[in-house]
């Protein structure tokens, strides 16, 4: 049974695209057949993060509108042969997508892949609603800040009302992925704590990804962090998250500080 998973957040810049690429790569590394679909028509980024920007010929809009066949638009990753990308169009806008067209493409993808990961654009408008429309599972990417948490709450409400699964009376499976977490700042009260975010959003925790230069470096190099630096804490967090998505029981590692005692002391003094 294939699963359609939307990666969404409401707020922009929280790490949806990075997380889509990392989770997609981690699931593919675990032997699953995965496609990551970029729904951010007009502002496509996923191709850059996955290092496929020089290989884009056709895109999601071409397939939705019937100008290209699905296999023509799919780009297979060079490092992982079970990982594919369906890029967005950079020259069109969200109105180029239709619900029927997206539904058709998703149905076709279901026949070819185990996991269809829909990388949602920010916002709550057409692009975001179409990305979540046909999902079975949702990963809500949230930063530990009040604005991001409130936007995520809004998105959770939409997942429970505007998706096909919700309209059919089913329950959408939702997971919280807390990204850009900084344990030191949370301890100093400059950032929301994990338990505060969980209390407000009241959905199960899929993982905590620490704020780290590894993630940024990987994105800039066009390689999902789970491929680029599998030993890094961020990559391990994404790998653990993907195992949880596959149904394994993996304890969420408490966010530890990676810095030593001296640097912590220094950091605190610098902040004061």
């Amino acid at each position: 049974m294939s699963k359609v998973m939307v990666v969404t957040s409401g707020k922009g810049g929280v790490g949806k695209t990075t997380s889509s690429a990392a989770l997609g790569a981690a699931l593919a590394q675990a032997g699953q057949n995965v496609v990551v679909v970029d729904f951010d028509v007009g502002l496509r980024n996923l191709d850059l993060v996955m290092g496929a920007e020089r290989r884009v010929v056709f895109d999601l809009v071409n397939v939705v509108q019937g100008d290209a066949k699905l296999p023509q638009a799919l780009i297979r990753d060079k490092r992982l042969e079970t990982l594919s990308l369906l890029p967005a169009s950079q020259t069109r806008d969200k109105d180029a997508l239709t619900e029927d067209g997206v539904g058709r493409v998703i149905d076709e993808l279901r026949e070819r892949f185990d996991w269809i990961i829909c990388d949602s654009p920010a916002g709550i408008e057409k692009g975001a609603t179409l990305a979540m429309r046909f999902a079975d599972v949702a990963v809500v990417v949230t930063n530990p800040e009040v604005s991001s948490v409130r936007d995520s709450d809004r998105i959770i409400g939409m997942l429970d009302s505007k998706t096909q699964r919700a309209e059919d009376g089913g329950r959408m499976e939702k997971h919280l992925l807390l990204t850009r977490y900084d344990a030191a700042r949370a301890a100093r009260g400059e950032m929301m704590k994990v338990e505060d975010v969980l209390e407000i959003l009241a959905i199960p925790l899929l993982g905590i990804v620490l704020e780290s230069p590894d993630v940024l470096t990987a994105s800039n190099l066009g390689s999902p962090v789970t491929l680029h630096n599998p030993a890094s804490p961020a990559a391990r967090a994404y790998a653990d998250a993907s195992r949880r998505l596959l149904g394994e029981e993996v304890v969420v590692r408490p966010p530890e500080e990676r810095r030593g005692f001296m640097s912590r002391l220094f950091g605190r003094r610098a902040a004061a």
Binding site: V146, R150, D151, I156, G157, I200
Partner: protein
């Protein structure tokens, strides 16, 4: 002449009864939705009661073709349409409503005693929501109390005709007493609200200060002012 004498004499009795006069309004969908709600709430009030339909507004807005549709709609709700008024009889010719009475005599009566009579039989309406109310969601229930088992998020709002009960953290807005006015109250397990209102009185978070933040609180109207008090 002799034949007439042999037949029995017909005896008549007189009876007067109250008919409901209803004037469907436009938009028709909304009017019927309101009627359905009214009928659910006080079913006994409509049962077996003859109905006279005043079609003046229907005719003015919908034209002659709307007339049978409206009457069919009334009949589909088991209302006993005994007569119509405000319409030229010829407009109903060749519809199934051709033979319905067009001019029923009678005098207008006020209906207060009728609308109030079935009220005690109807249980006070309440709405139970046993999931979190998420940011951007709006729960509006004008008919009575709202009970929420779960949190009300920042940026969400709950508006009730009666009281509001939140078994969880109240972080958004709660406005109570649309119907019951000053008698309504707001209860919550954990007060982190943005705005609280009862009967046209409201306060924002900065008005009540940090002393009540995070505590179980009730909100009520006290001599024209909103009063917040801790429950624990």
């Amino acid at each position: 002449m002799s034949e007439a004498l042999e037949l029995p004499q017909i005896r008549f009795r007189g009876r007067s009864f109250m008919a409901l006069v209803m004037a469907p309004e436009f938009p028709m969908g909304d009017w019927f939705a309101a009627l359905d709600q009214q009928m659910r709430r006080s079913a006994g009030f409509f049962a077996e009661r003859p109905v006279v339909v005043d079609l003046t507004i229907t005719l003015a807005h919908g034209g002659p073709s709307a007339l049978p549709i409206v009457l069919d709609g009334m009949e589909a709700r088991d209302l006993r349409v005994v007569g119509v008024e405000g319409v030229d009889p010829s407009l109903l010719a060749r519809t199934r409503w051709e033979r319905v009475a067009k001019s029923l005599p009678g005098r207008e009566l006020a209906l207060e005693p009728l609308t109030q009579a079935p009220a005690p039989a109807v249980l006070p309406a309440s709405l139970l929501i046993d999931r979190p109310v998420r940011s951007g969601q709006s729960i509006v229930f004008e008919d009575g109390d709202v009970t929420i088992v779960g949190p009300v998020a920042s940026g969400a709002e709950v508006i009730a005709g009666g009281s509001i009960h939140v078994y969880g953290a109240l972080r958004g807005r709660a406005i109570a007493g649309l119907r019951t006015a000053g008698a309504a109250r707001i209860f919550c397990r954990k007060l982190e609200a943005e705005l609280l209102g009862v009967d046209r009185l409201y306060r924002t978070a900065e008005n009540w200060g940090p002393a009540l933040h995070g505590r179980a609180v009730q909100v009520l109207c006290d001599r024209g002012a909103l009063r917040l008090s801790a429950l624990d």
